[in-house]
Every structure is written in C-alpha cells, then in structure tokens.
C-alpha cells in the first residue's frame, strides 16, 4: 500500500473586514478541498464572512535572497524615486 501524498499548501485568508488576502501559514492536505476545510479549522475558527485561498506550495515561485540587492535596494540618492512629496487627501484611505 502506498501512502497517500500529503503535499504542503499555503493558506491566504481575508478576514471579515479585511481588504486583501494575507498569508496566514501553511498546512498539509491531500487535495485542495481538504486544504480548504483544514484551513478553516486551523486558521479561521469559522468566523463568518472570510475568504480563504489555498495554493499548493510547489506552485509558488519565490525570489532568491541572493538577488535581494538588485531587486529590492533602489538607489537611495535618487529621491525622485520615492513618492514622498505628495500630501494624501484624507478621503484616500488604506495607502
């Protein structure tokens, strides 16, 4: 008997008043449906009005920490790259 594979899934949850899905953690499940059910138990305690996404971890491509320099460190001397000269009106929320 071959043991069923239980791959790793990443769980993203949008809470009731939340604006976007946030990564909550990961879990093992045999398929997407089971991953959803498990995520509900483990991460949301069944609070109403939440949305859950599950993605098999192998489907995620991550950036390589060795490339962090070229990817994430902009030239700090070029101030015009940073949008710090604008005053946001109060009506614009969640920036």
């Amino acid at each position: 008997m071959s043991k069923k594979k239980w791959p790793l899934w990443e769980v993203f949850v949008r809470s009731k008043n939340g604006l976007e899905h946030r990564h909550f953690g990961s879990l093992h499940a045999a398929d997407a449906e089971m991953a959803l059910e498990n995520a509900r138990d483990v991460y949301t305690r069944r609070s109403e009005g939440v949305s859950i996404w599950v993605v098999e971890s192998s489907n995620i491509t991550a950036s390589n920490p060795a490339d962090n320099g070229e990817l994430f460190e902009p030239a700090q001397d070029k101030v015009y790259r940073h949008p710090t000269f604008y005053n946001l009106p109060d009506e614009v929320k969640h920036m």
Binding site: L27, H28, A29, E33, E37, D41
Partner: protein
C-alpha cells in the same frame, strides 16, 4: 408537560454529549494534525450544544440541578442517547462512519427543530445548524475519500458500515416523552425523517463505492436507558472526578 420537556431535551442533548466525549478521546490521535483538529473541533461544537440544552433543562427543574449535575450525576440507565453515538473509536474508518451516520440525521433533525414551538430550542437549533452542516460535509467527504480510496480503506469502511448499520433505525424511534412533545408541537417527529435519511445515506455510500448493508435486524434501547456494554466505561471515565469530589466548584 414540564417533565416530558425535560426528558425530551435530555434525549437530544445526550447524543451530542456522548458523541462529543467519544471524539474528545481522539484528541492527539488523529491520523494527521489537520484531521485531529477537525475532529476535536466537531467535539467542541457538540459539547457546546450539549451545554445549551442542559442549561435550558436545568431551568425547568428550578435550581434543583445544574448543567454539571445533569452530565455527571446521572447513571447509565438515566442516559437517553442512541446506541450509535456510544460505539467505541475502533479505527478511523469507524469514527468517520459513526460520525456520518449521525450527522446526516442530526442535520435533518436540526432543520426540523427550527420549526419547534419552543423558542429556546429554536434558538439552539439556529446556532447549531451551521455547525452540524459542517460536520455533515466533513464526514460525508471522508466516507467518500476512504470508501473510494484504496482497497484497504474501502474494506475498512465496509466493515464499519456493516458494524454500525444496526444502530441506525433507533434514530427514528419515539419515546413517550417524544410523543407527548410532538403533540405539543415542540418536538421533532423523528419517525418522519427516516426515508429521507436512508436516501441520503445510500446516495453517499454509493458514491463511496460501498455496499448498503442488507440488514433488517436493528438494535434499540439507548433512548430508554438500555445501553451497550461500552456506555458504563465511558461514563466511569467521564464522571470520575465529580463522583469522587461531588458538589465542588471547578
């Protein structure tokens, strides 16, 4: 009337309490972490429902008893749960099948209880029905996974359904208290749920590639306090502390 209502409520609540206790025994013993959490979650739901019922029952006897007295100070003969829920956790397939056979009934029951003339029972049903529909989805899903899984898992599920089938018919029997409460429009006439129940169960078992037992010999007695030999051990375990130190605050 009050006495019948009290007994009727206990009849409902004991099913949840005893099944909750059985699932609680599995804490830390699930086949994997996620399933372990799911089973204890279901157990928590059931125990929560039990508390609501027992608290309501306690108000009917006006301070004579608390919810804890009702749970911990009754003997086996006073327990009114169906035989199905007290069956031991033989193996995971057994646990799932027992859960499935109860959940299908429980969901139908909760839907009907929402139409009761008793407001408190309606409130409990409204809260519980969301939990119970989750339970039913979980257990149906696993019956199909295991039945339509490997040869070994199918064999175990077939063994489980063969062993548990004889306890299903009791779900649809009415006690004297049930009958009295049905005529008041408070109780669910469970005998009317039977056809729909077996139709739903058969549908899932078929999808799970399992054979529906051709078994017409059914066990009963739980609702009258005549239990299987498993019940005494279960209560000894559950009630030990309160029996040793009665009337304590905890």
């Amino acid at each position: 009337m009050k006495n019948d209502l009290y007994n009727y409520i206990l009849g409902i609540a004991d099913n949840s309490l005893i099944l909750g206790q059985r699932l609680g025994e599995l804490c830390g013993h699930g086949p994997n972490l996620e399933t372990d959490i799911a089973l204890t979650n279901i157990s928590l739901d059931l125990l929560g429902q039990t508390r609501s019922y027992f608290q309501y029952a306690a108000t009917l006897v006006e301070g004579e008893k608390t919810e804890d007295d009702i749970a911990f100070m009754r003997t086996e003969r006073d327990y009114k749960n169906v035989l199905l829920v007290e069956q031991p956790n033989t193996h995971f397939g057994f646990v799932i099948m027992r859960q499935f056979l109860f959940d299908v009934y429980h969901l139908q029951f909760m839907k009907k209880l929402q139409q009761s003339k008793d407001e408190t029972l309606v409130a409990i049903a409204n809260k519980g029905i969301k939990e119970v529909s989750y339970h039913e989805r979980f257990s149906s899903d696993w019956v199909i996974r295991l039945g339509d899984g490997t040869d070994e898992s199918r064999e175990k599920m077939q063994e489980a359904v063969n062993g548990l089938w004889r306890y299903t018919n009791e779900l649809f029997q009415l006690t004297e208290a049930d009958k009295a409460m049905v005529s008041e429009g408070i109780a669910v006439d469970v005998s009317t749920l039977k056809d729909e129940y077996y139709a739903k169960v058969s549908e899932v078992l078929k999808e799970a590639t399992l054979t529906i037992p051709d078994d017409n010999y059914f066990q009963k007695g739980g609702k009258e306090g005549i239990h299987t030999e498993h019940m005494g051990y279960l209560l000894a375990d559950m009630q030990y502390m309160q029996r040793s130190y009665p009337n304590m605050k905890w």
